[in-house]
């Protein structure tokens, strides 16, 4: 029995050792993840919006779902094509999941909907991290009642705090986006 069990584990180790690429091992930096999000951009411009207190509160109200907007200074990254026309904007959101932090890059498209979410840092144990497949369920969502764990977003069994944190970050990014209007000049 011992020999058979050990053989099974050994075979598993060998199969595992030759399998799959790394996701958890080496996180990407801001520059790298931006380059992944906008491979065809002629440039990605770092911009900063300075919100008045009224604007900050407006964003917090719009975010709802318990998503606090605590910053008056918002840095975002506007990607433009060769003609200088915007193709998307990325926001970086840092927040606490359980007791440790997570940083997400949330990309918003010209239709003001989420186009992409990347986990840039996840400090909690990896079993609590949202899978790429789950994150994809948020892509395409706008700032409305469907972007909610009570709406179209399914909870994650055993990692509901992560699901809540990602939903709140997404709503916060979209609410700030609505206040900042980074595509306004192009429209």
């Amino acid at each position: 029995m011992i020999a058979r069990g050990a053989r099974l584990v050994l075979v598993g180790c060998l199969l595992g050792a030759i399998a799959g690429p790394v996701r958890a091992q080496a996180r990407l930096t801001q520059d790298e993840v931006l380059a992944l999000a906008f491979p065809n951009a002629a440039s990605i411009d770092r911009k900063t919006a300075f919100l008045s207190e009224v604007e900050r509160k407006r964003a917090e109200r719009a975010a709802g779902e318990g998503a606090r907007v605590a910053q008056n200074v918002v840095t975002f990254y506007l990607a433009v094509d060769v003609r200088g026309a915007p193709i998307g904007v990325a926001y970086f959101d840092a927040h606490i999941v359980r007791t440790l932090d997570e940083v997400l890059m949330i990309v918003v498209g010209l239709d003001d909907a989420i186009r992409r979410i990347d986990v840039v840092r996840f400090s909690e144990p990896p079993e609590y991290e949202a899978s790429d497949r789950w994150l994809e369920t948020i892509v395409g969502k706008s700032l409305n009642e469907e972007l909610s764990l009570k709406g179209d977003v399914v909870n994650i069994t055993g990692a509901s705090l992560t699901a809540r944190a990602v939903v709140r970050a997404s709503r916060r990014a979209l609410a700030l986006h609505a206040v900042i209007e980074p595509f306004a000049e192009a429209r």
């Binding site: 399998a19 801001q30 940083v103």
Partner: protein, 435 residues
């Protein structure tokens, strides 16, 4: 007459020269201010996101190229978490057959748990769960390590785990925080047949690839005979629970293998199965013939867990077989209907729905219902009989309220019945937290 225009020209030239100098000075100051604002916003961003994220690609660490130095930039450190639950049970005065139940109502600080982990880097981490059960070790309580392991995770597809590990079987054994199951008490099937919280010492592999995830471990076997250095109780007529050694000076004369595969058909829908095989005799002697008890134990289960909109459905079926039960019975002095089951089975289905899903509130209010059947003596060896009291049906219905994700309040009623008509119903109230 000529001198006046000349003076005017000279004066104008002086003024424009002075204005130009002033303009140059203003634009320089403006550029300096812009530079300062840029520096401040970058500093702010670095503080908010952390240096490992906000670092520029042209930065390298300790002389390595940027890509090679990524592993040194990850966040490290201690992680803390926890959960707990307090349970009140009020038992019916009478049993199914009308006789007094004799059970006293109780309120129990069932468990308070602290997670402590340490992330050495993104490949190596330590994780542990320390549990205080029943509040006071001086009375009915105890303090246990529910798990304590080291992970090496070079990729998502493959990781190694070693230490005191949770046995990857069923739904509740690995996900046993009170906010993850909707009834006050864990299912009987996942207590008697899959003995939650089941942990043993061992080593194994885990990972995920696409929609599949897996775990496989080599662990110390259960102690079916009981009484070894771990002081396990041994298997009994009510199931495998007493065979757990919990990593406490566990006897390792027999090893076991356990494996699990889950398939996520879509986000929220998980289907999986697991199996466990190993001998549980732990080198204890058979009566009279000089050999040792084998007691091969095979445990299998299949489960499904589905979250859709406000609906939550889950179900599980488990089947267990134990060999050499007559020898285990003899070793343990079990006779008649006290026999350990040669075969055990159990299953349950559970559903709940958030009736506040359409309301403009983050609160959840979920009516919940679960039905289960479990029989820990569905087959016993010849010369023994099954106790119909171990053929149990439980219907649980009630409701939970989650004001926030981290808190849950539960109330339910259990209609319990067994073949011997000795069960009594009970009302349960519980509060649970997780952080």
């Amino acid at each position: 007459m000529i001198r006046q225009p000349m003076m005017l020209v000279v004066l104008l030239a002086c003024v424009s020269f002075s204005a130009a100098r002033s303009q140059q000075s203003d634009s320089a100051r403006l550029a300096e201010l812009e530079k300062q604002v840029e520096a401040l916003t970058r500093e702010l961003e670095r503080l908010r996101l952390g240096e490992d994220v906000a670092v520029s690609v042209d930065t390298s660490v300790l002389g390595f190229a940027p890509a090679a130095s990524k592993v040194y930039r990850i966040a490290r450190g201690v992680s803390l978490g926890g959960y707990g639950e307090v349970l009140y049970e009020r038992f019916a005065d009478t049993r199914q057959d009308g006789a007094p139940s004799g059970r006293t109502d109780q309120l129990d600080a069932l468990r308070a748990v602290l997670y402590v982990g340490y992330k050495f880097d993104d490949r190596w981490l330590f994780n542990s769960e320390i549990e205080v059960e029943h509040a006071a070790t001086g009375q009915a309580g105890s303090v246990s390590m529910e798990f304590a392991y080291v992970d090496f995770r070079p990729s998502d597809a493959f990781g190694l785990r070693a230490g005191l590990v949770l046995i990857p079987m069923g739904i509740v054994n690995e996900l046993h925080e009170p906010t993850t199951f909707m009834t006050t008490e864990r299912p009987e099937t996942e207590r008697r047949i899959i003995p939650t919280t089941w942990r043993e010492g061992g080593v194994g592999i885990f990972g995920e690839a696409g929609s599949f995830s897996y775990r496989a471990f080599l662990v110390n076997g259960l102690d079916g005979a009981g009484g070894g250095s771990a002081n396990a109780g041994g298997f009994s007529a009510s199931g495998l629970r007493g065979g757990r050694q919990k990593g406490s000076k566990a006897v390792v004369e027999d090893l076991s293998v356990v494996g699990r595969v889950d398939f996520e058909a879509q986000p929220g829908l998980r289907v999986g199965a697991s199996g466990y095989v190993g001998e549980s005799g732990q080198n204890n002697p058979t009566g009279g013939v000089g050999g040792t008890i084998g007691a091969r134990t095979i445990l299998t289960e299949g489960h499904v867990d589905w979250l859709f909109k406000g609906l939550s459905l889950r179900g599980l079926a488990a089947l267990a077989f134990v060999d050499d039960v007559a020898e285990l019975n003899a070793f343990r002095g079990l006779t008649g209907n006290e026999s350990i089951g040669e075969r055990m089975h159990g299953w349950y289905v559970e559903g709940s729905y958030d009736v506040l899903r359409s309301a403009t509130t983050n609160h959840q209010l979920r009516p919940v219902v679960r039905f289960e059947q479990v029989n820990t003596q569905s087959r016993v060896p010849s010369g023994f009989s099954a106790d119909p009291a171990n053929d149990l049906d439980v219907l649980t219905f009630g409701a939970v309220w989650k004001p926030i994700t981290n808190l849950i309040f539960k109330a339910d009623y259990q209609v319990r019945s067994n073949g011997a008509r000795t069960e009594s119903d009970q009302l349960n109230l519980a509060v649970g937290y997780v952080f």
